[in-house]
Symmetry: C2
Subunit: 234 residues, 2 copies
Amino acid sequence: MGDLSLIKCIAFDADDTLWVNETYFLETEQAYCELFKDIIPEKEMSEKLFATEMRNLSIYGFGVKSFTLSMIETALNLNHPSVTKERISKALKLGQDLLKQPVEVFPEVNQILVQLKNKYRLIVATKGDLHHQERKLKDTGMEAFFHHIEIMSDKKEKNYLNLLNHLDIKPQQFLMIGNSLKSDIEPVINIGAQAIHIPFHHTWEFEKASQQPLNQKNYFQVEKITDIMTIIPI
Amino acid sequence: MGDLSLIKCIAFDADDTLWVNETYFLETEQAYCELFKDIIPEKEMSEKLFATEMRNLSIYGFGVKSFTLSMIETALNLNHPSVTKERISKALKLGQDLLKQPVEVFPEVNQILVQLKNKYRLIVATKGDLHHQERKLKDTGMEAFFHHIEIMSDKKEKNYLNLLNHLDIKPQQFLMIGNSLKSDIEPVINIGAQAIHIPFHHTWEFEKASQQPLNQKNYFQVEKITDIMTIIPI
């Protein structure tokens, strides 16, 4: 088991850790697939979209804008006369609506952050788009709790090592809290830092890819975000 | 005149400061406008695109993906039967090509960074997309020179104040180097930090908007990036 008394900086993943995200992505994807269901079965369209997203990942990276561009590309690639410009416009609009989606913060997040802020440097560490994540923090009034937002182009060991270097702290002084085993937990414990996993009921296909067994000694798992207060020293 | 002997951290704007950028954006925009020139005069299309970009700025932010989404939206909004899906696909492809564009670093940038790195903390401070800017730094081998990339959702006084807080330094210890008076110079000198302006021959319409007269005492202007070595103490 790690030693949380050493922690100086706590990094929170944003989407599906501080607020609901994947649920809205799924709703958008469902609306998108439904838009073309007279041309292609929804499940097949969803698979095509995921394939486009993965193909584009190296040039687009993560976030809603990348997702929207992949929705448009997937529709165009159907190469079907019934894929009208009106439908492409609707796909574009779905992406804009997703960006404008009001933020649904998990219960009691603010109360937790108020308490933690006095003792720790709090940051947000996310793969999302800075512009979009800043807007969400501002809309929820949570920006005052965080020292800064750390946008990570990916969440692999190398990216976390860069982050520690950037923060000028040692691995054991860093605690990551997030919902993705693949992105928030595994790479963090692999570099000797500490992590708390809070599973979310929806997980994006990309984040499910992990097969690696975890050393259960090096991280904690809790059910909901308020439970972290039972293990982090205050 | 500022006192550069106080400087601890030097932040470089990336696009059009370390490498050519606006030139490629302009070429892409020209190719895009040409794609629809049988429907609408190129100048008019360019104005429509800029209007879409400005309208979308609050939800999309800056960068090539935002630009691509605005290219697609502008074409769809022409609402013209000759705007075929093939043309929309070409607009999408123009954006992808822009993201894949090889990086043309300004002459002798590497030599300068090698020298500065020993004495100062160097960072990249950019409004671009992290994924894209990291790729450029990696491709050019310049990533080793920089402590980290600071992605800024905007470059206003408030954003620079956040950055100084994040870096834990005082304004007079911070030097910003960039090509945009509006984004890299004015807000920086307004918060009491220091700046060096290196004009680039192409400036995006958005960056031209500044009308504010500058207090010439608080910043330097040089012709090319190598000239900064004549004023920064080594």
